[in-house]
């Protein structure tokens, strides 16, 4: 036992040495921040979006939503045990998918619009064909040993999942089997986001780290630290060169991939609530962050200032999303409603 402890101490010492080297390398290239680069940029002023629609239909807390690539349909998941597919232009419900397990935490729309996936405390990611006469279960992806916190389709034949068992996984939907398992986090994985070119993805976890992974070979390429609590939300910047994270420590951060470090922090002393979700406007200038304080606060991504708020929910904002055409933003809440704003 003593020699085992000595071995671990030696490993930790070597690890600390490398960590110091990495921090030094980051510091060496840190010759300017985002607020510095944006000094001359015009302010966006006060961003005041109007509530355009409230979508009513769920009977319990909404935990997740995801826009379809057509920017019109959207799927939401509630612990009332249903997925609802909405036409957001008319406000009509198009499809209702009854779930085997009501404890849903995540939902995703496939880029094709043919499939949706969901999962949660059942540890399973279930994929449904919603183009059939009535929604049909296509696959039940069952191998995670912890809850399913997030899922995202690459196509109709591949899906990525993040789990409370600390791993992420790439699945083949044709066989229903795992293709790649991504192991490196030491806390529950809470969220994931695919890069625009789909060659990499990022994960946020309860170990307060964000990690960048190669989708095909399973390796962790980069690790981003700085948060002091669980990272609940994560998004890729549209250029593919930066990521945004949202955490229980009440802050959002932008990390630049090529300089391998945090370049701006979005935090306000008056905001004492954890970040649950986030989404970017089409240019990336605005960050919509959902918080436990029942609001979605709007940040200027370049200047790091709070520029607006979406108020109207009567409970925690659990999910936020901007469609591909950038024409609006959707917020979903534990109050059971979804709201559309622009």
């Amino acid at each position: 036992m003593a020699s085992e402890k000595a071995e671990i101490d030696a490993l930790k010492k070597e690890c600390d040495g490398l960590r110091t080297q990495i921090e030094a390398a980051r510091k060496a290239v840190n010759d300017g921040s985002m607020t510095g680069a944006s000094g001359g940029v015009a302010s966006v002023g006060r961003v005041q979006l109007k509530l355009r629609k409230t979508l009513k239909g769920h009977l319990a807390k909404i935990y997740a939503m995801h826009w379809a690539t057509d920017s019109k349909q959207m799927v939401s998941a509630s612990q009332d045990g249903k997925l609802l597919v909405w036409d957001t232009h008319t406000g009509n419900k198009l499809v209702a998918v009854p779930l085997k397990s009501a404890w849903v935490m995540s939902v995703a729309f496939a880029p094709s619009g043919n499939l949706v996936a969901s999962g949660g405390l059942d540890n399973i990611c279930t994929v449904y064909n919603i183009k059939a006469a009535s929604p049909k279960t296509l696959r039940e992806l069952d191998a995670h040993t912890g809850y399913l916190s997030c899922c995202r389709f690459l196509s109709d034949s591949e899906i990525l999942t993040a789990s409370g068992d600390t791993t992420c996984c790439l699945w083949d939907l044709e066989t229903g089997k795992q293709k790649v398992v991504f192991t490196n986090h030491i806390g529950d994985c809470m969220s994931l986001a695919l890069s625009p070119d789909m060659n990499t993805f990022i994960s946020g976890a309860c170990d307060s780290l964000a990690k960048l992974w190669d989708v095909r070979d399973g390796t962790c390429k980069q690790t981003f630290s700085g948060h002091t609590s669980d990272i609940n939300a994560i998004a890729f910047f549209h250029s593919g060169n930066a990521i945004i994270t949202g955490s229980d420590d009440c802050a959002c951060k932008m990390y630049d991939l090529r300089s391998d470090q945090e370049v701006i922090n979005y935090q306000d002393t008056s905001l004492n609530a954890g970040v649950t979700s986030l989404a970017l406007s089409s240019s990336g200038r605005l960050i919509f962050a959902g918080y436990d304080d029942f609001n979605c606060h709007i940040w200027d991504s370049l200047k790091g200032e709070k520029v607006g708020v979406l108020s109207g929910h009567d409970n925690r904002v659990s999910c936020t999303g901007v469609p591909e055409d950038g024409l609006g933003v959707c917020t979903g809440s534990w109050d059971s409603f979804l709201k559309l704003w622009n």
């Binding site: 490993l11 680069a37 240019s283």
Partner: protein, 73 residues
Amino acid sequence: MPVINVDELTDKDKAVMELNQRKLEVKLERWLTSKCCEEMKDYIQERVEEDTLVKGISEEKNPFKEKGGCIIC
């Protein structure tokens, strides 16, 4: 591929995993943050004029507007 159950990893396994990851990451080539931030700012500003949520949208073009007279909230 087998699922690696993190509960079954020993402290030593976890230490080895972290060390191997750091060895990979220490080799990364890092760009100057000033250059990266400048590029990010340019990327955003090139697109901000077309960004509906920043610039606003006219009633006729708004796909989410309520059709009909009144909205009762």
